[in-house]
């Protein structure tokens, strides 16, 4: 019976005392009922969804989820490997003892994870749980999706006449990652970062722990991915693109506008260079802001960060990251482009 694996709808941790088996039964019952209900109501549901706005909303929504899911699964696999098979002492040896030095090292280490931002959130979460300094894990979280070889190659392909764009993207992204890591080390308080209860993996066999970790992370991060995808699809379907083009005239507004656009669109970091290249009415610096902000903070990432590290963390971390990313790209753009 596969349906028995459905997650129970838990009201909170208060009902821990309930018999887990009874709750599990209920949840699978609910899922079955829901399936039957939706199949029965297929006709009206389709009718309601046939309006063009709804259709393009659905398409974008499904597209964001379908596109991000493989990378999410990849990241979850990697984080499960870290959580189960890599002993905590490994990180203690691999990273410099002083957090101030660990931050840039972790930032550079981001270059080797060939994935997009959806993969880096669960990996960073696993790093924190494994005892890595949060500041270093955050630097890794921010730099990994932006400076890995795949993304940089895509950038070079998308901006054929502008090799400096690749360099600028690398420099600005690494800069933001390190600065955010140091900022967290200086100002961050551990009580902001409140990861939701992770199932205890103690006392289980390695196999069980491995698969349990994967299941939990997919269900958890996947749910938040859905939240982010819905928001992004709504904004994409509702906000007219013409608003953007009025912003292209003013250089300062243009940088801010493309930064915001990157947040709203929630494009995979492996594809954003092509979109940036097509925004040709904007200055190169503004497009650099698009490329630096996008992989670090966007709507689906915000939702996933809130899920992995807690809401209080995401509410503080996301605006700071946005501000730093915009500043750094303006700075690097002024120097390099």
């Amino acid at each position: 019976m596969t349906l028995t694996k459905a997650p129970p709808a838990r009201g909170g941790r208060r009902d821990d005392a309930d018999d887990p088996r009874a709750r599990r039964f209920n949840s699978s019952l609910v899922l079955t009922l829901l399936l039957v209900l939706v199949v029965a109501l297929q006709g009206p549901v389709r009718g309601a969804l046939s309006a063009p706005v709804m259709q393009s909303w659905m398409t974008v929504f499904v597209a964001v989820v379908v596109q991000a899911l493989p990378f999410l699964v990849l990241g979850v696999l990697l984080s499960a490997v870290i959580a189960v098979f890599v002993p905590p002492s490994f990180f203690a040896r691999a990273l410099p003892g002083r957090p101030a030095l660990a931050v840039p090292v972790a930032g550079m280490a981001g270059a080797v994870l060939p994935g997009c931002e959806c993969a880096s959130v669960p990996v960073a979460g696993a790093l924190v749980r494994r005892g890595v300094t949060p500041a270093a894990a955050l630097a890794f979280l921010l730099s990994a999706p932006a400076i890995n070889p795949i993304v940089l190659t895509a950038t070079a392909v998308a901006f054929p006449g502008e090799p400096r764009m690749v360099l600028a993207r690398f420099a600005a992204s690494l800069l933001v990652a390190c600065v955010m890591g140091w900022l967290w080390q200086r100002l961050g308080r551990t009580d902001w970062m409140r990861p939701p209860a992770h199932p205890s993996l103690e006392g289980l066999g390695k196999g069980a722990a491995f698969w349990g970790s994967i299941r939990h992370d997919v269900m958890h991060a996947g749910g938040f991915l859905v939240v982010g995808a819905m928001t992004a699809a709504t904004l994409k379907a509702v906000v007219p693109a013409s608003w953007l083009h009025t912003a292209a005239g003013n250089p300062v507004v243009a940088i801010l506008a493309l930064g915001l656009l990157a947040v709203v669109l929630s494009i995979c970091s492996e594809a954003d260079a092509f979109v940036a290249a097509s925004l040709s009415q904007f200055s190169l610096t503004a497009r650099l802001a698009f490329l630096v902000v996008g992989p670090m903070i966007d709507l689906k990432l915000f939702a996933m960060q809130a899920g992995t590290f807690g809401r209080g963390f995401a509410l503080r971390f996301a605006p700071a990251t946005f501000a730093m990313a915009v500043l750094a790209s303006a700075l690097v753009g002024a120097v390099l482009l």
Partner: protein, 233 residues
């Protein structure tokens, strides 16, 4: 739940359904993700059974403590299995500016066939940035879907996509000459025509839209991959 999600992803990957949402290159990753999801589901059941057989029951209390937010995963599941939303069409096309880019590698000489099949972006690129030099006196065949602007003027559009439908951008070509009298948005057309110097400015975004002088337009079924992926190389 995970099993269903995995099956849905595999289903989309093995049929051409996935091409409505993401680029073709993501297929192996999608299939791998589906396999991992199903594997996780199977492993969960297996360990569950073994644990019960060993008499541990649920005393660890580790099992099935999934957060409520994971219920949201049923939404894309329903959307994929039951509704399977269509690829982006004229609504999205007319809400975004044309995304024509000058191809970095110039314009290779066209083969001598006549009429010659081009994709929408290739035609538009040659018409705008090459001033139609390589298109003169040639019959050109392009395929795209119909979109009408507010005044009812017809365009032939193909969405160009880099990764997934969220970043798809339209490339538009205006239709002039002998256009069919009744054009319904979102019908796919194979248009045969010749280059014309006429162009217009896209009301959204201000990009340049070239025109094609239509001599024949025939409805065609939706292509296997509704998007133009030529940017992916």
């Amino acid at each position: 739940m995970l099993f269903l999600l995995g099956v849905a992803v595999l289903h989309a990957g093995f049929t051409d359904l996935y091409l409505r949402y993401v680029k073709a290159g993501l297929r192996p990753l999608l299939l791998a993700a589906g396999v991992v999801l199903i594997g996780t589901a199977v492993a969960t059941v297996w360990y569950e059974l073994r644990q019960q057989r060993d008499g541990h029951g649920h005393e660890h209390g580790h099992g099935h403590r999934e957060p409520r937010v994971s219920w949201l995963l049923v939404l894309p599941l329903f959307a994929l299995i039951l509704v399977a939303p269509p690829a982006l069409g004229s609504y999205s096309a007319m809400h975004a500016g044309t995304a024509l880019q000058r191809p970095p590698w110039g314009f290779p000489t066209l083969p001598a066939r006549d009429p010659i099949s081009l994709n929408v972006a290739d035609y538009a690129g040659r018409a705008v940035y090459d001033h139609g030099r390589s298109l003169r006196d040639r019959h050109v065949k392009i395929t795209g879907f119909v979109a009408l602007d507010r005044r009812g003027a017809p365009y032939l559009v193909r969405m160009a996509l880099n990764c997934c439908a969220a970043d798809a951008l339209p490339v538009k070509v205006g239709l002039s000459g002998r256009t069919p009298p009744v054009l319904r948005p979102d019908t796919w057309l194979e248009v045969t025509g010749t280059y014309t110097g006429k162009r217009t400015k896209d009301p959204v975004g201000g990009g340049v839209i070239p025109y094609i002088d239509v001599s024949r337009a025939a409805p065609v079924p939706t292509p296997r991959d509704p998007y133009d992926e030529s940017w992916n190389g």
